[in-house]
């Protein structure tokens, strides 16, 4: 085994660096320099809460805002008639690693003004919390659940914040974080055992299939779940 390999194992043992105050991605520009009308208006109205902006990929405009005032800013972007971002296309997250902030990304579109805007909120690793925007856009519901599931960001005020992609009782962490090992934290045997002891009805029952509020039927005991040895563990 070469020096190179050994140093790679050392880096793994040491884990991620404690905290890197620098932000991820390219440098930000002042809001006033933007030629996107919404970003200029945001800078005038919210001042310091707008952390910067940067055009990317030609005409895609990105603006960074402070997470403490995110709900206020986003609801203004939706309700102000000159902005009217009435469609929330995507909510996602980015982990830049090395202790840098995790960013929550909102991709919005205004069908009235035919404009797109991307808003990013950097969250420090010790305070992964932000206000939910489900009261503004219903489409953010499952998207925020996905960010919670894969990045561990808690959305305050979300009506149903639970895992959406990973198993509900998954306790190995949040897989898209940079400090998450590629093959998970448990051995394959333990992962297989846990996977097979899941209760399938929890995923494919009435609640998940869109009939929320209805009592799940008492299902007849079927081969493969109830009564199996260790099946409910």
């Amino acid at each position: 085994m070469t020096e190179e390999h050994l140093s790679a194992f050392d880096a793994i043992a040491a884990g991620p660096a404690p905290s890197d105050p620098t932000t991820g991605g390219a440098p930000r520009l002042p809001a006033a320099e933007s030629d996107h009308p919404s970003i200029g208006a945001l800078g005038e109205r919210f001042g310091d809460a707008v952390l910067g902006q940067r055009p990317t990929a030609g005409d895609q405009h990105v603006v960074w805002i402070a997470p403490a005032r995110s709900f206020e800013i986003l609801s203004w972007l939706k309700d102000d008639p000159d902005q009217a971002y009435d469609m929330m296309s995507d909510v996602t997250g980015v982990d830049y690693g090395n202790g840098r902030p995790v960013e929550v990304v909102y991709q919005m579109f205004s069908t009235r003004h035919k404009r797109a805007l991307r808003v990013r909120c950097p969250l420090p690793l010790d305070a992964l919390e932000i206000d939910s925007v489900v009261p503004l856009w219903r489409s953010a519901d499952w998207l925020e659940r996905e960010v919670y599931d894969l990045f561990g960001v808690t959305f305050r005020g979300h009506p149903n914040l639970k895992r959406i992609l990973m198993p509900l009782d998954y306790d190995e962490g949040h897989p898209l974080r940079k400090d998450f090992p590629l093959r998970g934290r448990y051995s394959r045997a333990e992962q297989t055992r846990r996977a097979l002891s899941q209760d399938v009805e929890r995923y494919y029952g009435h609640e998940v299939l869109g009939e929320e509020g209805r009592e799940p039927q008492e299902l007849a005991p079927e081969i493969g779940t109830r009564g199996a040895e260790g099946g409910g563990a």
Partner: protein, 233 residues
């Protein structure tokens, strides 16, 4: 070409006025094994469990150009209760593992399993936290079809191997052919050491921290009773 030509072991007993016309025998002699196997192997109903691109090839196999119906697989059985062959086509994530296991448990004996493609057989390129590393850790597999995805010819060849396997079965030894503990529903098929052996790290990833890193044992199956060799092993 009548029934008498297709049945193996039918001896010609020339008499007059036979059941198949003039000069044909008035009775048939054959082994009950031959009759039953002949019936089984020419009326296999597949249970399609298609999760990815392999399923596209499976559909192509069932369509008119390749025409799986020639082999007696006239009907894809979308209920496991009426299926004989489970065709697992595509990658299986851990969240789907209990579903696959339950479908297998719901299929009546006799039943066979085809693992179609690299992902179902070994996890393929998805050596990650979310993916089952080969469905043989969950259900017993009779035939593995390599390919990414296999062509329809590959699937047809695999199913013909299943037919060949059925042709060699015997009623008097059916416990050996399908030795599966009926009490082990919803349980991993392999034990912990076997799963670790099947899914051990292959060295294509640098971040392999785990809480429980078992040793990688050799691929030796546990010894059964005196010389009793299971077909699945």
């Amino acid at each position: 070409m009548g029934l008498k030509d297709k049945l193996p072991g039918v001896g010609p007993v020339p008499t007059s006025g036979g059941i198949f016309g003039d000069g044909s025998p008035t009775f048939l002699t054959s082994k009950i094994d031959a009759i039953i196997n002949w019936g089984r192997l020419n009326s296999l109903w597949p249970m399609p469990f298609g999760t990815a691109c392999c399923a596209i090839e499976m559909m192509a196999s069932a369509a008119s150009n390749y025409d799986l119906a020639r082999f007696g697989m006239e009907r894809m059985s979308f209920s496991p209760r009426q299926a004989d062959v489970l065709i697992c086509a595509g990658r299986v994530p851990y969240k789907l593992a209990p579903v696959l296991r339950r479908i297998w448990d719901q299929m009546p004996q006799p039943k066979w399993c085809v693992s179609m493609g690299a992902c179902a057989s070994s996890g393929g390129v998805f050596d990650v936290y979310s993916m089952v590393q080969g469905i043989d850790t969950i259900v017993p597999v009779d035939v593995y079809i390599p390919g990414c995805p296999p062509r329809p010819e590959g699937l047809i060849y695999g199913l013909m191997m299943i037919q060949e396997k059925i042709r060699q079965e015997s009623l008097s030894r059916h416990f050996e052919h399908r030795a599966e503990d009926p009490l082990r529903v919803a349980q991993p098929r392999a034990n912990e050491a076997e799963i670790s052996g099947l899914t051990g790290p292959f060295g294509n990833s640098t971040r392999q921290e785990r809480l429980s890193t078992g040793q990688v044992p050799s691929r030796k199956a546990p010894e059964g009773e005196s010389g009793r060799k299971l077909i699945h092993d």
